[in-house]
């Protein structure tokens, strides 16, 4: 039950984009049509769903103060917490490389359309943000962390698909010339985010 709660919470209430603005760069740049948005969303779900639990294990068995007690009791006082940024980003970068190679092999058309943004998943704030939120919230088990990572990914994908769909339609509307493109995308995101605030406080 708790896991379902975390899952729903990470999709709707603590949505990566509409509540924390993480991953905005690729969110704005790759949301011009739905198909590419779905592709990138899938990649983000995969990377988030895998890296958050991996980082959770690293955090709790290596980096935290006293986390290395399982190796030998003499290590109980060591606190490598300050290394966590470096560790997280290394895991994320390695994983992205993996996804990039897989996509290049299995779906060249998707690879061509995602272009530069695939390697940029490594610097997608949502991925590292997921790891950092996981660290901050101190989930009790690796399952919680995995569910949180997966849910955040699903929420991110949902957001980018929503905005891509809206932007596909809005191409036909009459917007002031200088507001077209980036400006209206911001304002739309803001309005959707206000809508998403109505999920606040929902608890399963």
């Amino acid at each position: 039950m708790e896991l379902i709660n975390i899952f729903v919470k990470s999709i709707f209430i603590e949505n990566m984009i509409y509540a924390y603005f993480l991953g905005m760069c690729s969110y704005l740049a790759v949301s011009k049509n739905v198909k590419t948005a779905v592709g990138l969303g899938m990649a983000v779900i995969f990377v988030l769903g895998m890296t958050v639990p991996i980082n959770y294990l690293l955090e709790n068995y290596l980096l935290k103060e006293g986390a290395m007690k399982w190796l030998s009791p003499s290590l109980a006082t060591i606190d490598l917490g300050f290394l966590s940024f470096l560790m997280y980003i290394a895991v994320v970068a390695a994983f992205t490389q993996l996804v990039e190679m897989a996509v290049e092999k299995f779906s060249p058309s998707l690879y061509a359309s995602l272009g530069i943004f695939l390697p940029l998943i490594a610097v997608n704030c949502a991925i590292l943000g997921g790891a950092l939120f996981m660290q901050q919230r101190d989930y009790p088990s690796v399952a919680h962390a995995a569910v949180f990572g997966f849910g955040s990914g699903v929420g991110w994908m949902m957001s980018i698909v929503i905005i891509a769909a809206v932007r596909e339609k809005i191409r036909y509307s009459n917007i002031p010339a200088s507001l077209r493109g980036l400006g209206i995308a911001f304002i739309l995101t803001g309005l959707i985010a206000i809508g998403f605030m109505s999920f606040m406080g929902i608890k399963l």
Partner: protein, 219 residues
């Protein structure tokens, strides 16, 4: 900015000055290049955290640019992203520890967003686009210029949000001192003026940035 430029005129040829002034307006990293949006939105509820965030980003971009530029010939191009990330992560760890040591409350307020400087697209974008191909000194200027461009947007957004959201302006006057300016006099509130609480909530940051982009494109 301008006075500083005049003092060191010799080091700043016209071309190099452009590295600093360009990102402030014509090529602003946030509104034109669409980079580094995440943090520009999340930490702009108040002026003070926004200011310290700007300082952090300034340090990381400027130093990162210099370091990458110094070792740019040594990095094999296949692993350059990881090499850049490691250097940036190292710098961010330093910034994070310094913030924790000297301005603990700000560091709490910024929470995960200090760590997210690592993935701030401006940092990676500048390393990739500029420092990998230029000498250290221009790279340093480019880093300073871009973080100033980022800082300006950060300041504008946070000032707007704080004034209308909370009716105050917290101006950092020292490391741990702030001067809280009450923008609206009490008589305003007596007449029935109410702070717009929506401004403090996350969505309004997006709308404010959207408006800034609009205004910027219009000119």
């Amino acid at each position: 900015m301008s006075t500083e430029n005049k003092e060191k005129e010799s080091l700043f040829s016209a071309k190099r000055r452009k590295l600093i002034t360009d990102p402030l307006n014509d090529n602003n990293p946030v509104t034109v290049q669409v980079l580094g949006i995440c943090s520009a939105l999340a930490i702009t509820v108040q002026l003070k955290p926004a200011f310290f965030m700007f300082l952090g980003v300034l340090t990381v971009i400027a130093m990162g640019n210099v370091i990458i530029s110094l070792i740019r010939d040594l990095i094999p191009s296949r692993v350059r992203i990881i090499a850049q990330l490691v250097i940036v992560a190292g710098l961010v760890i330093i910034v994070d520890q310094v913030l924790k040591a000297f301005v603990y409350d700000v560091s709490k307020q910024l929470s995960v967003f200090v760590g997210l400087i690592i993935t701030n697209c401006i940092v990676m974008g500048r390393l990739e686009a500029f420092a990998m191909a230029n000498k250290p000194w221009p790279s340093f200027l480019d880093g300073v210029g871009n973080s100033l461009g980022y800082g300006i947007i950060l300041m504008i957004v946070s000032i707007i949000r704080e004034i209308f959201g909370a009716g105050t302006l917290t101006i950092p006057t020292g490391i741990n001192t702030v001067y809280v300016l009450h923008v609206f006099p009490q008589s305003f509130y007596d007449l029935g003026y109410v702070n717009n609480g929506l401004m403090i909530l996350p969505p309004m940051a997006l709308i404010v940035v959207g408006m800034i982009v609009w205004a910027h494109m219009e000119t």
